[in-house]
């Protein structure tokens, strides 16, 4: 069970971090992530199956494509609407995910697809069954967590990203170009959503709803960790992964899909800032 939870967490931690980063900069919960992940999955499929690239290369290309799509969506959709309230932008982001899904359905149909990579039987370790694919997902997720930490903590651009997230006006006074930093952040987050699409395609199946199905667990992980806090998102992903796996021990499996919602509801009641977020004071 612990291993199952770890794989779940590895799948949702990178997009939960990206979701948190995006929220930090743009100040609204962007539900278009479902559509972005689906774009990643289908881009990787296109490079891997019809174009015949090996999966690692296809994954890298899909990350680039998704980064571009997320940046474009920011420039074309959200930037012109930045004067609107967070609720308006949230609704727009839901509409955007529906549009993206349906455009994909138009070109690829609703058929189920998979990458050109054979399924593998598991290794048996201490009673747990692990496949090489799942180990790769966990390792990559860890690498991304560390890389993102290094980027935010030790580089000039990371500090600028945090500064813009904290106080855009003060950052601008200090000479940080907020537009460029925002573009960079959306592209980094886009790459993470693209990679999640690849992981989801490996773990589940590639179909137009693949991203939407992951949205609630990702959102729950980000809220649990404290929305806006990328490290919190990692812990949040672990807890959501564990909670989903543990549910089936006590409740029928059909309730599993509601676990994410319950976590969100309980947290908003008891600790709205999340486990690692800081309470915001509004005047």
């Amino acid at each position: 069970m612990i291993f199952n939870a770890l794989v779940n967490a590895a799948l949702i931690a990178p997009p939960a971090m990206a979701f948190s980063l995006l929220f930090g900069i743009l100040k609204f919960p962007n539900f278009a992530i479902g559509g972005y992940i689906t774009v990643g999955a289908f881009a990787a499929y296109t490079f891997n199956v019809p174009l015949g690239l090996p999966l690692p290369l296809a994954a890298a290309a899909a990350m680039l494509v998704t980064a571009l799509v997320v940046w474009l969506m920011h420039v074309l959709v959200f930037q012109p609407m930045e004067e609107h309230s967070a609720i308006t932008l949230l609704v727009v982001s839901i509409a955007l995910t529906l549009i993206i899904e349906n455009v994909i359905r138009l070109f690829f149909s609703a058929d189920v697809r998979g990458f050109e990579i054979p399924l593998e039987r598991p290794w048996k370790l201490l009673g747990a069954r692990i496949t090489p694919e799942q180990v790769q997902i966990i390792i990559w997720s860890l690498v991304i967590g560390v890389a993102l930490h290094c980027l935010l903590a030790y580089t000039w651009i990371g500090r600028a990203m945090r500064a813009v997230a904290d106080n855009p006006m003060l950052a601008a006074i200090r000479g940080v170009n907020a537009t460029r930093i925002t573009a960079f952040t959306t592209a980094i987050c886009g790459a993470l959503f693209g990679l999640t699409g690849v992981f989801a395609g490996l773990d589940l199946v590639i179909e137009p709803l693949v991203g939407w199905n992951l949205t609630i667990p990702i959102f729950a992980a980000a809220i649990l960790g404290g929305i806006g806090s990328p490290y919190g998102a990692i812990v949040g992903a672990l807890l959501v992964g564990l909670a989903e796996e543990a549910t089936i021990l006590f409740l029928p499996s059909t309730y599993k899909i509601g676990v994410g919602f319950v976590i969100i509801a309980v947290l908003l009641l008891l600790r709205p800032q999340g486990l690692f977020g800081t309470a915001e004071i509004r005047k």
Binding site: M1, R113, E133, D203, V205
Partner: protein, 402 residues
């Protein structure tokens, strides 16, 4: 602008006005029938065959002079295997095209979705759907189902796998009416003592199926039965394989088509699947193969296209028999031309029309099965077939004849 009318234009206008009702009368004389089929989406592999069958039968009847002295006008719509799209299409068929019947719906959600509109407009429906809710929702007795209900699928698949000597099972079904009642039918036949644990359900669209699969194979059952649809079954099967399960995996053939096989690749080998199939030895099936330009390979081809042929044939025979397109009379005539002993058996619409016109009682025996309806408009039985995927292809391992 000044408007002037010459005697010539008056004459032309009057002639046109007199002509118009004639055109309208000609259109009214046609019998409008709606063909609403799953040409894309989950039923995509089957819809085009159903559509083609509807059209072939209608064209053949039109070429031979039509039914009740009127031509058949077929209106084709794609349901996209999606109830919302289907309801919009049904709306158009009913209010714009004024159809007498909507035939060819495939998934239960589509058949049930359009049913309120069809019932209020007194329109006959013919479908290949399996939800046990269909006869309950059909308050006016206007729905005819050319597919057995899902508990019958479960019982038939259980009978077929029992004869393979499998002794214990673990069961998990997608949480919807079609698959839940199929699981009940399966349990009815194998008995609860053959189950290693309580059966359970999962939802479609989950972010992972890991814990469900772990629970399913926890007690190392000899076989698992998973009534499902292709999207969730593919994800569940990948997980079963990755968790090292080596027993028999049994499901329905709708989940194991080309999409499944190309997604999981060589790992698909060994999966056992079953579903209702045409009666391969029946003369009507052989006629169907000729009509569709297919070779008789001895294996099942066009499992739903055959039902499409039977739907249109039965509908037209019933209209001829009833002598009207009034839905209540046609519904009654559908039983008359399909069900009951001591009548002349016919295998195609041309022979049936000739016999009816000669005053004979007929029993239409179709390409998809013998087509006998119960009191609720459900087909009484179909042949079932169990196949196993070997080297990426379906190999028939058993058949159950009705």
């Amino acid at each position: 602008m000044k408007f002037s009318m010459t005697r010539r234009s008056l004459l032309a206008g009057s002639a046109a006005a007199l002509m118009t009702p004639a055109i309208l009368r000609a259109q009214e004389a046609d019998i409008a029938i709606g063909s609403l089929t799953p040409n894309t989406g989950g039923g995509g592999p089957f819809g085009p065959n159903i559509t083609a069958s509807h059209k072939r039968v209608a064209d053949a009847v039109n070429a031979a002079g039509g039914v009740l002295g009127r031509q058949i006008r077929l209106y084709q719509e794609n349901s996209e295997t999606n109830p919302e799209t289907a309801v919009r299409a049904a709306d158009k068929l009913i209010s714009v095209n004024k159809v007498s019947a909507i035939i060819g719906t495939f998934s239960s959600s589509v058949t049930l979705g359009i049913m309120p509109k069809c019932q209020s407009a007194n329109i006959i429906q013919m479908c290949t759907s399996s939800s046990a809710d269909i006869p309950i929702a059909d308050e006016k007795g206007l729905v005819f189902n050319f597919q057995p209900l899902s508990p019958i699928w479960g019982r038939a698949i259980a009978d077929l796998v029992l004869s393979r000597g499998l002794e214990n099972y673990a069961l998990m079904a997608l949480n919807n009416d079609f698959t839940r009642s199929m699981m009940d039918g399966f349990i009815e036949r194998v008995g609860t003592e053959a189950l290693v644990q309580d059966p359970f359900y999962y939802n479609a669209g989950q972010s992972s199926y890991r814990s469900e699969v772990t629970q399913l194979i926890e007690k190392s059952p000899e076989a698992v039965f998973i009534p499902s649809y292709v999207t969730d079954f593919t994800a569940v099967y990948k997980e079963l394989y990755r968790q090292g399960y080596e027993g028999a995996v049994i499901t329905i053939s709708l989940s194991t088509g080309d999409q499944f096989k190309s997604t999981v690749g060589a790992a698909a080998d060994g999966v056992i699947h079953g579903f209702p199939v045409p009666a391969l030895s029946s003369p009507a099936y052989k006629e169907y193969l000729t009509e569709a330009g297919l070779e008789d390979t001895g294996s099942v081809q066009h499992p739903f296209g055959t039902a499409g042929r039977d739907q249109m044939s039965v509908l037209l025979l019933a209209m001829e028999k009833a002598g009207t397109t009034d839905s209540a009379a046609v519904a009654q005539a559908i039983w008359d031309v399909t069900t009951g002993e001591g009548k002349k058996t016919v295998y195609n619409v041309a022979d049936g029309l000739a016999a009816i016109r000669a005053g004979e009682e007929i029993n239409y025996s179709g390409a998809s099965g013998s087509i006998e309806f119960d009191a609720e408009g459900g087909v009484l039985g179909r042949d079932f077939q169990l196949s196993e995927i070997q080297d990426g292809k379906d190999v028939v391992i058993q058949r159950l004849e009705y």
